[in-house]
Structures are given as C-alpha cells and as structure tokens.
C-alpha cells in the first residue's frame, strides 16, 4: 500500500518538476498555429522552379554559342584606302576593288595614242 503510494508520488514529483509555465505554453501554441497555417510551398513548385532555371541557363548558353559561331563565319575584313577621289578596297583574300567618281561627260569617240618608248 505504502509502496503503491510512493509510485504515484513519483509521478506527481516528475510532473511537478517538469511543469511548464503558462506563458511558454501559450507562446509555443501561438507560434505553432501561426506557422502551421502558413501555406507551405508544395514540393512540385521547387521542381518547376529548378526546371525553369535550367531552361533559362540552357537558352542563354545556346544563344551565346550561336552568337560566337555567327561571328566566326563573318566575311573577311576589308581594308579601305583612298587616293584622291578614288577608293581602293582590299579584301583579306587578295581581291581588290577600285571605286572612282562617275565620268562628268561621256567620252565616246575618244581614243588613246600609244607611243612605244
């Protein structure tokens, strides 16, 4: 009988020693209810965001790659020099164009006399 009472008293002692003050309980209750009510972001959303980020990165990579390949396929550069009213355009591959002003009047009927020296 005395033993039984001791056992129950142990329960009471443990409860009393671990008793929580009401303020702490109220605080924990309020926070749990507030945190639990906030809609957690579904895991699917994380997957969607990750896939979208991958697509953006991939797109940027492809765009950058195409830009560089297009630049490398550009025509050879041209060197333009001027001699008076005449422009001389030299291409890297050796071709040359000479551009001059249009003649002021038609020169039909003219001829050239070539004198050997």
């Amino acid at each position: 009988m005395d033993d039984e009472r001791n056992l129950h008293e142990v329960d009471a002692r443990v409860r009393a020693a671990l008793m929580t003050d009401a303020a702490a309980s109220d605080r924990v209750t309020a926070r749990a209810l507030a945190d639990g009510s906030v809609r957690a972001v579904p895991r699917n959303w994380y997957a969607v965001v990750i896939v979208a980020a991958l697509i953006v990165v991939l797109g940027a990579g492809v765009w950058q790659w195409r830009r560089t390949t297009r630049a490398s396929a550009a025509p050879p550069s041209l060197a333009i020099t001027g001699h008076g009213s005449i422009l001389v355009v030299d291409s890297e591959d050796g071709r040359r164009w000479v551009v001059g002003p249009a003649p002021a009047r038609r020169t039909g009927g003219n001829y050239v006399i070539v004198i050997p020296q």
């Binding site: 001791n6 056992l7 008293e9 142990v10 329960d11 002692r13 443990v14 409860r15 009393a16 020693a17 671990l18 008793m19 929580t20 009401a22 702490a24 309980s25 109220d26 605080r27 924990v28 209750t29 926070r31 749990a32 209810l33 945190d35 639990g36 009510s37 957690a40």
Partner: protein, 169 residues
Amino acid sequence: MELEAVVATLAPRLIAYALARTGCRGMAEDIAQESLTALVRRWQRAGPPASPDGYTFAIAKRRVGRAIARRALTAPLDALRGVARDEPGVDQAYEDRTELASVLSAMRALGRADRDALLLRVVGELSFDEIANVTGSSPGAVKMRISRARRRLVALLPEHSNGRRTQSA
C-alpha cells in the same frame, strides 16, 4: 475536438517531455513548437490523425533524438566558441531548481526505453497503446517498462525537500 484546443492541451505536455529528454528549456520549446506545427499542417491538409497525441509525440520523440545527436556533435565546437557556457546539460538558469535537477538526474540513470515509456505516460499522458505505437513495442512491454522505471525512480530520487517522502533505498 478543435485544432486550437488540441494544440493548447498538447503544448505543456510536449515541452515537459522534451525538457526531460534534453534538459534544456529552450530546446524543449523549439521541439514542442516544431512538433505542433507538423500536427497543424497535417490537420489542415488531411484532417486530424487517428490519435493526435500519439502522432505529435512520435514526431517530438524523433526530433528530440535528432536534437540530442546534433548537440553531441556540435558540443566541442560550441565549447570552443564559448556558446556552451550559456547552455550546459541542464540549463544554467534552472540549476538552482534542485528538484528539476534531481529529477533529470534520476531520469538519466534509467534505461532509455524505460525512461521514454515513463515520460510518455506520466508527462505525455498517452495511453499504453499509444505509447506502444510511438515506441514501436507492445502494450505489455510498455506496462512492464513503466512499472520498472517507476520503481527505479523511487529508489533514485532523493528525499523531497519538504519531507513529504522518505527515501526508500
């Protein structure tokens, strides 16, 4: 029963349980809050669990285990950084509470399974079946563990300061 009422009823019991397991009131409040948050989310998503008490204490039990393991891992670092001074095994703030200190000390002398079963019964106020679910054992084993833990505690706990009980061992 309303969710708010269930949460309010569970909060002090969860804090007491986690306090007995961790010896730290701050950690106990965090564990209780996280466990209750899990219950609230579950309740709102899929309705109340069959046993809200058992559900929440099962979460609290797992979180206590993780918190103790984490503390054991970070204790050397905390000691180096000087953090541990603020939060020793039993809170410095409660060191003067000799009754709490002696109860926690006696609890630590019990076997882990016995201590858990006793705490879930005495502090958590769970039924034998619920304790059996939470601890993964049979109700018969739970009864035996609780009985053994009680007898052990009677022997371990020093005489009560106000002399209500004389030491029996």
